[in-house]
C-alpha cells in the first residue's frame, strides 16, 4: 500500500472514531441513574431492549432471506404449504416463556419501587398551575415550606435574548428554590395538586408520580451522590405545562443541616409581625413580588390577561370595585375557571397583591388593603 493510501485510510479511521465521539454527545439512552433503584430500572430496560433486538433480528432475518431468495425475479417457484401444528405451538409457547423471563425481574423491581415505608424525610410536593410547592413534613427540616418557580428569564423563552438562551445550560430546567435533600437518605415524596393533574418527574432519580388534586400519592428515592438533578412536570396541565421544572439538590448531611438552619432562620425573619402597619407603597412593593410569582402567567405583566382565556385586571370591574369582593374572589377562587383559590398565601401576601392590582396599570383606586382585612375575611 502506498503512503498516500495509508494516509487516506488513517484519515478515514480518524473520521470514523471522531464520528463516535460526536455521537457520544447525543443522548441515546436513559439518563445516568443516581439511585440504586434507577440502576435496576436502567438494567431492566437494557435487558428487555436487547431481547427485543435479538428477536427482531431473528424474525426479520427470515423475512429478508425470503425477500432476497424467494422472489419471483430469481425464478423461485411458490411452494403451497400452509399450517403446521408443531411450528404454530412452538411460536406460541416460546414467546410465552421469554415473556415470563422478562416479567420476573420486573416484578422484583416494581415491588421495591413501590415500597415507600421507613422514609427518613417526607416532603409534600403540590402541583399548581404552573409551579411546585414543597412542604417538609417529617424528618430533619420539618416545617420548611416554599414555592419553586421557573427562573429562566422570559426574554430567553420569548426569543428576545437568544444569546442568553444558548449560553444557558439549564434553560427551562432551573428554579428559584431547589428541593434540598440529604444524600443517602430515603426521601418520600407525597404528591398532590391544587388545580389539575401534574406529575413530578426527575429522570436521574428514577421517579415519576402523578399529582392528583384532592388525593395524595407517594413515591421515593435515595440519592447515592450529592449533586443537582433536574426534571419537569410530565402531565399536561395547561398553558405553561412546559415551564414548571423540578430541581432537586442533594447535599452531604452536614451541608443539609446547615441549609435547614438557614431556612429556619429565614422563616423566622420572614414572619411578618401581624400587627405591623403597612403603608400603601410598602404593600404595593410587596404585592408586586407576589404578583410576579403567582399571577403573571395568566394575567400577564401588563395586567391585560390573554383575551378569551384569562381576563384583564387593568380596568377590571372586580379590581376597581369594592375590595371585599376582590378579597373574596382571591380566597375562594372562581368555580369552573382557571382562577384557583389563593387562600394558601399569607395575609400580608394577599393584602399586598390586592393593593398592587388596585393601584397599578389603569387602576387608580388609591386604596390599600391591610393584612388585618384579609384575616377578618378568612373567618
Amino acid at each position: 500500500m502506498s503512503i498516500k493510501g495509508i494516509k487516506r485510510w488513517a484519515a478515514a479511521g480518524a473520521l470514523f472514531f471522531w464520528s463516535f465521539a460526536a455521537w457520544a454527545e447525543y443522548k441515546l439512552n436513559l439518563q445516568t441513574p443516581h439511585t440504586l433503584l434507577g440502576e435496576k430500572i436502567y438494567d431492566l430496560h437494557t435487558i428487555i431492549t436487547a431481547i427485543c433486538f435479538v428477536i427482531f433480528i431473528g424474525v426479520f432475518g427470515f423475512m429478508f432471506y425470503a425477500v432476497f431468495k424467494h422472489r419471483k425475479s430469481v425464478g423461485h417457484k411458490a411452494a403451497q404449504f400452509h399450517e403446521n401444528t408443531a411450528v404454530e405451538v412452538a411460536w406460541t409457547l416460546i414467546p410465552f416463556v421469554i415473556l415470563i423471563a422478562m416479567a420476573v425481574p420486573a416484578t422484583g423491581t416494581l415491588v421495591t419501587m413501590r415500597d415507600t415505608s421507613e422514609a427518613d424525610l417526607t416532603i409534600k410536593a403540590t402541583g399548581y398551575q404552573w409551579k411546585w410547592g414543597y412542604d417538609y413534613l417529617k424528618g430533619e427540616g420539618a416545617g420548611i415550606s416554599f414555592y419553586s418557580t421557573l427562573s429562566t428569564p422570559r426574554a430567553q423563552i420569548e426569543g428576545t435574548d437568544v444569546a442568553g438562551r444558548n449560553a444557558n445550560p439549564n434553560y427551562l430546567l432551573e428554579t428559584d428554590n431547589h428541593v434540598v435533600v440529604p444524600v443517602g437518605k430515603k426521601i418520600r415524596i407525597l404528591t398532590t395538586a391544587a388545580d389539575v393533574i401534574h406529575a413530578w418527574y426527575v429522570p436521574a432519580l428514577a421517579v415519576k408520580q402523578d399529582a392528583v388534586p384532592g388525593f395524595i400519592r407517594d413515591t421515593w428515592f435515595k440519592a447515592e451522590k450529592p449533586g443537582i438533578y433536574r426534571g419537569q412536570c410530565a402531565e399536561l396541565c395547561g398553558k405553561d405545562h412546559g415551564f414548571m421544572p423540578i430541581v432537586v439538590e442533594v447535599m452531604e448531611p452536614a451541608a443539609y443541616t446547615a441549609w435547614v438552619g438557614s431556612q429556619q432562620k429565614k422563616i423566622a425573619a420572614a414572619k411578618v409581625d401581624p400587627n405591623k402597619s403597612w403603608t400603601l407603597d410598602e404593600l404595593k412593593a410587596h404585592g408586586e413580588k407576589v404578583y410576579a410569582q403567582n399571577c403573571v402567567a395568566c394575567h400577564q405583566a401588563t395586567g391585560m390577561g390573554v383575551p378569551g382565556s384569562f381576563p384583564a385586571l387593568s380596568g377590571s370591574k372586580v379590581v376597581d370595585g369594592p375590595k371585599a369582593d376582590q378579597i373574596k374572589l382571591l380566597l375562594a377562587g372562581k368555580q369552573g375557571t382557571a382562577m384557583a383559590s389563593f387562600k394558601h398565601l399569607s395575609d400580608a401576601d394577599l393584602a399586598g397583591v390586592i393593593t398592587f392590582t388596585r393601584n397599578n396599570w389603569s387602576n387608580k383606586t388609591g386604596e390599600a388593603v391591610a393584612p388585618a382585612e384579609i384575616k377578618a375575611a378568612r373567618n
Partner: protein, 530 residues
C-alpha cells in the same frame, strides 16, 4: 298499512340501477361503493388537516424557545391533531375499506342497511366541522390532549363543549357503521361461504365492529360526565365534591385501549390479503390468524390501566396489568410469524401494495417491541408521558395503520377505478414515506429516553438536535403524501385500463368473480362457494 308497505316495496325496486346525478348522487347515496369512496376521501381530507396541525407542532419544536405559536395554541394543536387523526382520518379510512370490500368479498349486493350506511357517513362532516370550529371559539381550541383528562377538561373554554359534541357524533356514526358491518357479515354471505372460509379482512372487521359497539358508548359516557361536571353541577371528577379525577382515566382507557386495536385490527386484515397475494402462496395459518385476532381483541379489554402506571394504583393492580399487557405479545407474535411464514418459499414480487405491507410488517413490529418495553411497569414509569411513548404509538399508528391503508389503496385501486396507478410513482411514494417516517419518529425514542416530556411547546437545549431532525423528517413525510394524492388522481383520470385480476396471486371473490371495475351492485346473484 298494507298499501303503504307495498308502495314502499315497489319504490325500492324501482330504485335498482337508478342513481341521482350530480351532488345528490352522493348526498342521497345508499350504495356501498359510493359511500366507501366518500369515507376514503373524507378521511384523506382529515389526514391533511391533521397533518397541517402536526407540521405546526413540528415547526414550533424545530428549535428551543417560543417562535411561531403561543403555548395555548400549541396545546390545542396537539389535542386536535390527535383527535382528527384517530377519529377523522384512520377510523373512517378503514370503514371506507369495509364498505367497499365486505359486500364484494362475501358475495353480497350491498351492505345490510344502506340508508343507515348513508347516515353513518353523513354524521362525519358535521363532527369534523365541530372540531375545526372549536379552534375559533373564545380562548381558542381546548388544549387538553386527545385524552381530554379531567379536571383540565372541566377547566377548558367553550371549545371543549364542541369537542365533546363532536366525539358523541363520531361515536354514533361508528356504532351505526359497526352494526351494519356485523349484520352484513353474519347474514349476507354467499351460500357455502362459511365464517371460516371468509377472507381474513372480513374477519378482522367483524371483530373490530364488536369492539366498536362495546367501547364507543364507554367513551360517550366519559365525555358526558365531563359535560355535566362542566355545566350541570355534578362532581364525577372533582374530589371536592366526592369524585375522583382518576376515575375519568379508568373510563377513558377502558375505551382507549380497545381503540388501539380498533385501528390496528383492520390494518392486520388488509396486510393479510396483500402479503399472500404477492407471495403467490396461501396465508400460512388462516385459523390461527383468526384466533390470534380474537385473542388480541379480548385481551384489549383487560389491560387499560397500563396507560396509568403513574396515576397511582395498588402495587398488586400494577403487577396484574403488567402481566396481562405482556401477554398481548403472544397473539401479536403469532400474527407476525404467520406473515413471515407466508412469504417463506413464496414467489415474491414487490409492487407498491407489497412494499407498503412489508413496511407495515417491519415498522409495526418495531412499534410492538417498544410497546413491550413500555409494558414493563418500572421502565414505563421512566418513559411514561415522554417522547418515547410518542415514538411508540406513531410506529403503531402511522407505520402500522396508515401504511397498511396505503397498501390497501394501491392493492384495490384497480378494482375500484378500473385503472392502474403509476407503479414507479407509487414506489417513490413508499420509499419517501418510509425514509421520512423514520427520520421523524426514530429519533423521538432518544428524546424520550433522555427525558423530554410530551406536549411541551419548548424544551431544554440538550434536546435540540433530535428535535430538528424530527421536524425536517415531518415536513418530508407531509410533502410525500401530496405525491400520493397525485398518484391517485392520475390513476382515476388517466390510468391504463386494468384487467379483471391485475395481481397474479389474489384469490378473494372481488378478484375471481367480478369484472374490473366492479359493477354498481356487486353481486346481483350470489356466487356459490364450494
Amino acid at each position: 298499512m298494507d298499501a303503504a308497505h307495498t308502495h314502499s316495496h315497489d319504490h325500492g325496486h324501482d330504485d335498482h340501477g337508478h342513481k341521482p346525478s350530480g351532488i345528490m348522487r352522493w348526498v342521497k347515496s345508499t350504495n356501498h361503493k359510493d359511500i366507501g369512496t366518500m369515507y376514503l376521501w373524507f378521511s384523506f381530507c382529515m389526514f391533511l388537516v391533521g397533518g397541517v396541525m402536526a407540521l405546526i407542532i413540528r415547526s414550533e419544536l424545530f428549535q428551543p424557545g417560543l417562535q411561531i405559536v403561543r403555548p395555548d395554541f400549541f396545546n390545542s394543536m396537539t389535542t386536535y391533531h390527535g383527535l382528527i387523526m384517530v377519529f377523522g382520518a384512520i377510523m373512517p379510512a378503514f370503514v371506507g375499506f369495509a364498505n367497499w370490500l365486505i359486500p364484494m368479498q362475501i358475495g353480497a349486493p350491498d351492505m345490510a342497511f344502506p340508508r343507515m350506511n348513508n347516515l353513518s357517513f353523513w354524521l362525519l362532516p358535521p363532527a369534523a366541522l365541530l372540531l375545526i370550529a372549536a379552534q375559533f371559539m373564545p380562548g381558542g381550541g381546548a388544549g387538553v390532549g386527545w385524552t381530554m383528562y379531567a379536571p383540565l377538561s372541566t377547566q377548558a373554554g367553550p371549545a371543549m363543549d364542541l369537542t365533546i359534541f363532536a366525539v358523541h357524533t363520531l361515536g354514533i356514526s361508528s356504532i351505526m357503521g359497526s352494526i351494519n358491518i356485523i349484520t352484513t357479515i353474519l347474514n349476507m354471505r354467499a351460500p357455502g361461504l362459511t365464517l371460516m372460509k371468509m377472507p381474513l379482512f372480513c374477519w378482522t372487521w367483524l371483530i373490530t365492529a364488536y369492539l366498536l359497539v362495546a367501547v364507543m358508548p364507554v367513551l360517550a359516557g366519559a365525555v358526558t360526565m365531563t359535560l355535566t361536571d362542566r355545566h350541570f353541577g355534578t362532581h364525577f371528577f372533582n374530589a371536592a365534591g366526592g369524585g375522583d379525577p382518576v376515575l375519568y382515566q379508568h373510563i377513558f382507557w377502558f375505551f382507549g385501549h380497545p381503540e388501539v386495536y380498533i385501528i390496528a385490527i383492520p390494518a392486520f386484515g388488509v396486510v393479510s390479503q396483500v402479503i399472500p397475494a404477492f407471495s403467490r402462496k396461501p396465508l400460512f395459518g388462516y385459523a390461527s390468524m383468526v384466533y390470534a385476532t380474537a385473542s388480541i381483541a379480548i385481551l384489549s379489554f383487560m389491560v387499560w390501566a397500563h396507560h396509568m402506571y403513574t396515576a397511582g394504583m395498588p402495587v398488586e393492580a400494577q403487577l396484574y396489568f403488567m402481566y396481562a399487557t405482556v401477554l398481548i405479545a403472544v397473539p401479536t407474535g403469532v400474527k407476525v410469524f404467520n406473515w413471515v411464514a407466508t412469504m417463506w418459499k413464496g414467489s415474491l414480487t414487490f409492487e407498491t401494495p407489497m412494499l407498503f405491507a412489508l413496511g407495515f410488517l417491519f415498522l409495526f413490529t418495531l412499534g410492538g417491541f417498544t410497546g413491550l418495553v413500555l409494558s414493563i411497569t418500572p421502565v414505563d414509569v421512566q418513559l411514561h408521558d415522554t417522547y418515547y411513548v410518542v415514538a411508540h404509538f406513531h410506529y403503531v399508528m402511522v407505520a402500522g395503520a396508515l401504511f397498511s391503508a396505503f397498501a390497501g389503496i394501491y392493492f384495490w385501486l384497480p378494482k375500484w377505478t378500473g385503472r392502474m396507478y403509476n407503479e414507479t410513482l407509487g414506489k417513490w411514494h413508499f420509499w419517501l414515506s418510509l425514509v421520512f417516517f423514520n427520520v421523524t419518529f426514530f429519533v423521538q425514542h432518544f428524546l424520550g429516553l433522555a427525558g423530554m416530556p410530551r406536549r411541551i411547546p419548548d424544551y431544554a437545549l440538550q434536546f435540540t438536535e433530535f428535535n430538528m431532525i424530527s421536524s425536517i423528517g415531518a415536513f418530508g413525510f407531509g410533502l410525500s403524501q401530496l405525491l400520493f394524492l397525485y398518484v391517485v388522481i392520475k390513476c382515476i383520470t388517466s390510468g391504463e385500463k386494468a384487467p379483471d385480476k391485475p395481481w397474479e396471486g389474489a384469490d378473494s371473490l372481488e378478484w375471481t368473480h367480478l369484472p374490473t371495475p366492479a359493477p354498481w351492485h356487486s353481486f346481483e346473484t350470489p356466487p356459490v362457494i364450494k
